[in-house]
Structure formats: structure tokens, C-alpha cells
């Protein structure tokens, strides 16, 4: 899983049925100190995260399908946790 910060949301009316009812967030990958790493990407929210939150992003399709339990949606990125604190040496 990657650490990332939620920086925005995306809304869409026309979408694949696998995305219906899900909230799509823009997440910026960050390092353990909170500094941006690379380019932003999108992820479906499963934990009621909001803009400004540091989150854990799962980027692996099999795990996504296990969590969503909705058959085989074409989803690869999922926010699976809101980070309280990161300590690294």
C-alpha cells in the first residue's frame, strides 16, 4: 500500500457500472514525511476519507475485489485506511 494525501474529488454521471455508488478521490502519493512523490492519481474511497486526509491506497486488483465484494469491477485503486500517524527512523 502507498501513503497518499487526498487533494480532491472527481464527479461523473456517465460511468462504468462498477463505479456506481462509489466516491472517486484524487490522491497525491507522499513519503513518510508528507512530501509529495510523483504524480497524482485517482482512487475509490471505502473509509469516508476527505480532502487533506493522509490515507493508505491499495493498488492491486485482487485485493480491491476482495474488499468491494461486487464481482469484477474494473477498479484498481482503493483508499483502505486513514492514517493517524507515521513514525519512521
Amino acid at each position: 500500500m502507498k501513503l497518499a494525501q487526498v487533494i480532491g474529488t472527481v464527479t461523473a454521471t456517465a460511468k462504468h457500472p462498477g463505479y456506481l455508488g462509489h466516491k472517486l478521490m484524487i490522491v497525491q502519493p507522499v513519503d513518510s514525511a508528507g512530501l509529495a512523490l510523483g504524480e497524482s492519481q485517482l482512487a475509490i474511497d471505502t473509509v469516508q476519507a476527505g480532502p487533506g486526509d493522509t490515507v493508505l491506497v491499495l493498488r492491486e486488483g485482487t485485493g480491491v475485489r476482495q474488499i468491494l465484494e461486487e464481482g469484477t469491477p474494473p477498479i484498481r485503486s482503493l483508499i483502505v485506511g486513514i492514517v493517524d500517524e507515521v513514525t519512521s527512523g
Partner: protein, 102 residues
């Protein structure tokens, strides 16, 4: 270009169409579009590529895509040998106001 971005779900803009007569089995009938990946501000990032359309998008539309193996799942149950699929047409992108503030 970050290869990581196109392994995930990402924003893009449809800038053209692509037609191929000779295709791998399983790709018959798929609509192929040329896509420019975008960052959260709508600026181009990375290289243009071809993606298959699952939501009737067209040139000029801002869309989001899924890459890698999950792209094939957009056309489930048929098996399609593709690595990028357009799965949503973007109505709006809302950025956290704190971002970019001085």
C-alpha cells in the same frame, strides 16, 4: 512519464480516435480512442496512448481511465487483451482549496 500512474486509475482527455482493421481476437467491436493523460489541474502529463471506451466518450471529453489488468474487466465477461479502458466521463474535478494556497 510515470509508469505508475497508468498502472492505476487516472484522468485524461480524449483527443482522437483510432481505427485498426487487423486486431487480436477479442478486440472486435471495441472503440479505440487516443487519450492524453492529465494531472489534477487539467495539464497534460505523460504520453498519449490508445484506450478502449466503455462509456461512449468522444473527442474533447475529459475522462477517467483504469490501466493494467483491470482495464480488461471493464468489458467483462468477454476477455479483451487491453491495458487501458475509459470507465467514466468527468463532470467536475474539485480540488481541496488548501492545496495551492499561499
Amino acid at each position: 512519464m510515470s509508469p505508475q500512474k497508468e498502472d492505476a486509475v487516472y484522468l485524461g482527455e480524449v483527443i482522437g480516435t483510432c481505427v485498426a482493421t487487423m486486431k487480436a481476437p477479442g478486440m472486435e467491436g471495441l472503440r479505440m480512442l487516443v487519450v492524453q493523460p492529465l494531472d489534477e489541474h487539467g495539464n497534460p502529463t505523460g504520453t498519449r496512448h490508445i484506450a478502449c471506451d466503455a462509456v461512449q466518450a468522444g473527442p474533447g471529453d475529459r475522462v477517467y481511465l483504469v490501466g493494467s489488468r483491470e482495464a480488461a474487466l471493464a468489458f467483462d465477461p468477454s476477455f479483451v487483451p487491453i491495458d487501458a479502458a475509459i470507465v467514466g466521463i468527468v463532470d467536475s474535478v474539485d480540488l481541496d482549496r488548501r492545496e495551492g494556497d499561499v
